[in-house]
Symmetry: C2
């Protein structure tokens, strides 16, 4: 007799945690795009015992669950956005400020159609997109022109 045991790695059941709830709530209630560090310092005020690892851990979990958006910060720290409504991000290469770029719904739809079309003609099937535009913001451009 041959007994075959199949052990399947099942996704662990998620348990509630105060910390995760706080992190999510905080991101939903603010308009900016804090780094993990910034969020840590802010939440520490309400819950002094919270650890930085918990912040990172939960930010990752929430990102995977599409409850929040992770904005790749490159050399700078990553930032997190509680607003999951589709929009672009604009990062000023000079001052490192991050701006939301919301499009009217029809424009966004147009963009997505366009992107889909690009995808069809190239190698990729684009499912989720996360567009960051780099450039120089108005303030910094102004400053540059004043120097000249």
């Amino acid at each position: 007799m041959i007994i075959v045991i199949i052990i399947e790695r099942v996704k662990a059941m998620q348990k509630y945690s105060k910390q995760r709830e706080m992190i999510l709530k905080s991101l939903k209630n603010r308009e900016d795009h804090p780094t993990a560090e910034k969020l840590y310092l802010d939440l520490k005020k309400e819950m002094p015992e919270i650890g930085i690892a918990t912040i990172y851990r939960n930010l990752q979990i929430l990102t995977e669950q599409n409850e929040i958006l992770k904005i790749n910060g490159g050399k700078e720290s990553d930032r997190f956005d509680g607003n999951t409504k589709k929009h672009f991000h604009f990062v000023c290469e000079k001052c490192k400020n991050l701006y939301d770029v919301f499009l009217e719904d029809d424009k966004m739809e147009q963009w997505e159609k366009w992107l889909e079309n690009i995808a069809k003609n190239t190698i990729a099937d684009i499912q989720t997109t996360n567009i960051t535009i780099n450039g120089t913001c108005k303030n910094c451009k102004k400053k540059e022109e004043e120097i000249k």
Copy 2:
């Protein structure tokens, strides 16, 4: 008598180096988007004494001089592209592969006009752009569907 000495930090004159030339030539002659590490290992074959710091240093210099493109790799390593003709990059979130997305010139122009328009209506003056699209590539999507 008051003597005022104004010391102005002048941009240092750039001197030639074999290493920088090699790095640039290598990037211009390849189609992929190597990381600094990969480039280092490749160039070591031709010039065993080259150091990793030299690679990083020159990649930065060349990027600043717009001779090459630096592609922000986020948690992964940055990648470098010898092709400065405007195009997008598509990164597969699953396999981490990076694909070029070239647009016909008129499409790219259209995109830029569009972007400019977005910019006007929002906070930013977009000068240089560096668009990375994240998603799932055809191969990985196929694999996913096979599992289901």
